[in-house]
Amino acid sequence: MSDTVLVVGGGPAGLSAAAGISAAGFKAVLVEKEDRLGGAPILSGYAKLVPSGEWAKDAIGRMVEQVEGDANIQVHKSTKVTKLDGDAGNFTATLSNGDTVQVGSVVLATGFTHFDSINKPEWGFGTFPDVLTTTQMEQMVGSGKITCPSDGRVPERVAILLCVGSRDRQIGREWCSKICCTVSANLAMEIKELSPETEVFIYYMDIRTFGLYEDKFYWKSQEEFKVKYVKARIAEVTASDDGRLLVKGEDTLVKRPIVIPFDIVVHAIGMDPNEDNPEIAETFGVGLEKHGYIDKAETYTNTCGTTRKGIYSCGAAYGPETIDDSIAQGKAAGLRAVADLSRA
């Protein structure tokens, strides 16, 4: 009988699962393919998190310390699972570093992949140095200074384009990435804090700052930081002769075409299914849902289940998810996983 759970992925969800398993008195083996723990917020260098306002390196850093300092959690970095034999209660996992581990259950916390803006060439990413993604803008905020990458000038105007790589049949992405509206409102306020003379405009089709994020982010950005929201889906980003960017679209409320000069354009990129998912599905024998995320079992009595017995999942592996919810789901998946151990 195994007393160990295999946790795959060391982002917020996987860290939470591993810590929970240990707290319940069992052991966890945490396998992370990158050379650092922390997942997207650490690997991509996010600035202040929604909704806590804490810096990612502090908040998620605390989770990483907790796990790395726990003797009941064995961490394998720069490692993947290459093979999984056996059945629920009695799995043998082979790792890419040659180790094998005996585990009773598995938690897949393998998260998401950032949308690559190169797939939307009309919006200028990769062509103009001052067109950035939200992850790059988060890093700029982290550096403490807002400047145009092309020549270092302070931007007079920044445009944030929502839904880049989400909600778009043309590129086969029919989901909403859930957090990017709020992240963009938050980012707009961070930009204004660091560079008060910069004007920030957000181009939207719908604003989805759900639940308690409505007043804390959307309203606050409008009322206190004077961020302007324009209802238009941008068609094209080009450059003008003076080196500024031109944002073109239809302002749907004015019913007029717009061609507005900007200094920086930010893509609010979405959360794609993890690009490893086909491989993960194959290795672990779990199904994927129609968009390519890990398929969720019925949730009411098989919480955090997948299509395979003894294998659980949580967080952004299931679809676009927030950090707070990924952490809560990680704990829930850990609980399901240790329940299997105590029964075996």
């Binding site: 238009a232 068609a235 239809e250």
Partner: protein, 238 residues
């Protein structure tokens, strides 16, 4: 009160009674001018379905009003009143009166399909423009487009004889669309044909133009085809 800025108000909304006496006071003419309000008072829920029955209109219900089609549109670049996004909105709610204010430009879509390739919801706005244009033609709201007149003439001859007679299609098309028969290019073409075509061909063309031969064993084929097309139309539009 006289209204000084009448130019700002659509003429049909200004109501003035020539003779009106209220409580013994004569308020005839501009003293009683009223402006009817622009409040929208109803939706025509069936209109979206009607347009969806025309080829191309099927996906109109998917639109979320992002404006990408309008912005990419070839015709919008010429005329900012050419706004497929806005017309799709009116179609969905059944705001026909508003839509018909633009009846003279809706048909101007040039089918470049730039909208089709940019729409994030795969609405196919070009198809919707086509569906609206066809609906307006069928309702007699707009005149038949030259293309429709041509198609009808072409098809009538096929149904009748199983083949067309080029000269007759052209002649009838020009007549029905009020165009001169003696167009320069046509006169020139006929002149050259007379000069260069072998006599045998000319003779056969001339004979066909007068005799209108039918395709061999065409029989009732035309009638059957016509009936089939009619049935299909009825099945779709009820």
């Amino acid at each position: 009160m006289a209204i000084h800025e009448k130019s700002l108000i659509e003429a049909e909304r200004l109501k003035t009674a020539d003779h009106l006496v209220i409580d013994g006071v004569d308020v005839s003419g501009h003293w009683n001018t009223m402006i009817t309000p622009r409040t929208l008072c109803d939706y025509d829920e069936h209109f979206e379905k009607t347009i969806q029955k025309y080829g191309g209109g099927e996906n109109v219900h998917r639109c979320w009003q992002c404006g990408s089609c309008t912005n990419s549109c070839t015709m919008y670049a010429q005329n900012v009143n050419f706004n497929p996004r806005y017309w799709i909105y009116l179609t969905r709610l059944g705001l026909k009166d508003e839509l018909l204010k633009d009846k003279d430009i809706i048909w101007q879509c040039v089918s470049c399909n730039r909208c089709t390739h940019i729409c994030p919801r795969d609405v196919r706005p070009e198809g919707v423009m086509k569906a609206l244009a066809h609906w307006m033609e069928e309702e007699g709201i707009t005149e038949k487009s030259p293309a429709t007149v041509f198609d009808e003439e072409f098809w009538d001859q096929i149904a009748e004889r199983g083949r067309i007679e080029d000269s007759e299609v052209l002649k009838n098309f020009f007549q029905k669309t009020g165009q001169e028969l003696t167009q320069d290019w046509l006169v020139e073409m006929i002149k050259r044909m007379l000069k260069h075509l072998p006599f045998k061909h000319l003779f056969r063309s001339g004979k066909n133009a007068v005799m209108h031969p039918r395709t061999q064993s065409w029989g009732r084929t035309g009638e059957v085809l016509k009936q089939y097309v009619q049935e299909q139309k009825e099945a779709i539009h009820g």
